[in-house]
Symmetry: C2
Subunit: 122 residues, 2 copies
């Protein structure tokens, strides 16, 4: 699979894919004789994981750390579990903050719909 297809598939740009590779999140992707990247199934799986986690706002530095440990094999299992839990906790905090803001926005919109507008309430 060529870079533009992969980009298309995940809604990323080719620049972003090369950037992720530069940062060591994925690859190094195998290249054909002409120097063109050819993504295989494992590359795709990895990109899918990265895309999902990045969409949720997880930092590249974390993903790099986790994936490096993954590549080191079974001896890193314990450490990997720990950082997954840590990231999930961070994510939970963010989710809660966002849910709170979401509910506040919903309430505000309802007030606008009912024309109950307090000049002093933002």
């Amino acid at each position: 699979m060529q870079i533009s297809e992969v980009a298309q598939k995940f809604g990323l740009t080719t620049d972003t894919l090369r950037y992720y590779e530069r940062e060591g999140l994925i690859g190094p992707i195998k290249k054909g004789k002409n120097g063109i990247r050819n993504y295989d199934e494992d590359d795709i799986k990895r990109i899918q994981f990265v895309k999902c986690m990045r969409s949720a706002g997880l930092e590249i530095s974390f993903l790099k750390k986790y994936l490096d440990l993954f590549d080191e094999g079974d001896k890193t299992v314990k450490e990997r579990r720990e950082i997954l839990v840590e990231q999930r906790n961070i994510l939970k905090e963010k989710l809660d903050a966002m849910q709170e803001a979401y509910d506040k926005l919903t309430m505000k919109i309802e007030l606008y719909d009912k024309n109950i507008l307090d000049k002093n309430l933002i």
Copy 2:
């Protein structure tokens, strides 16, 4: 209320509060004869709103736009409602993406706990 108390109250830095003021999100805050800011109840309410929305990742440019319209009074009600809905939609997308990542992380952690580790699965 002085700047450091307000910062403390909301878990912001004084630099951030002055930055928000520079950007026109809040204030201009009234100052005493010595030039020191004195935050009143309305300032606090506004900061609470900004803090909540920023914690959810809403952009400063949006908050600026919304709060400027708010200050213009009743004639902007319709436009305000529209941008609130728009922001809520954006927030919903993000919430969904984060929930998906959260669930994925939870599943992974469970696999780690049960020692079901597929070498080919990230």
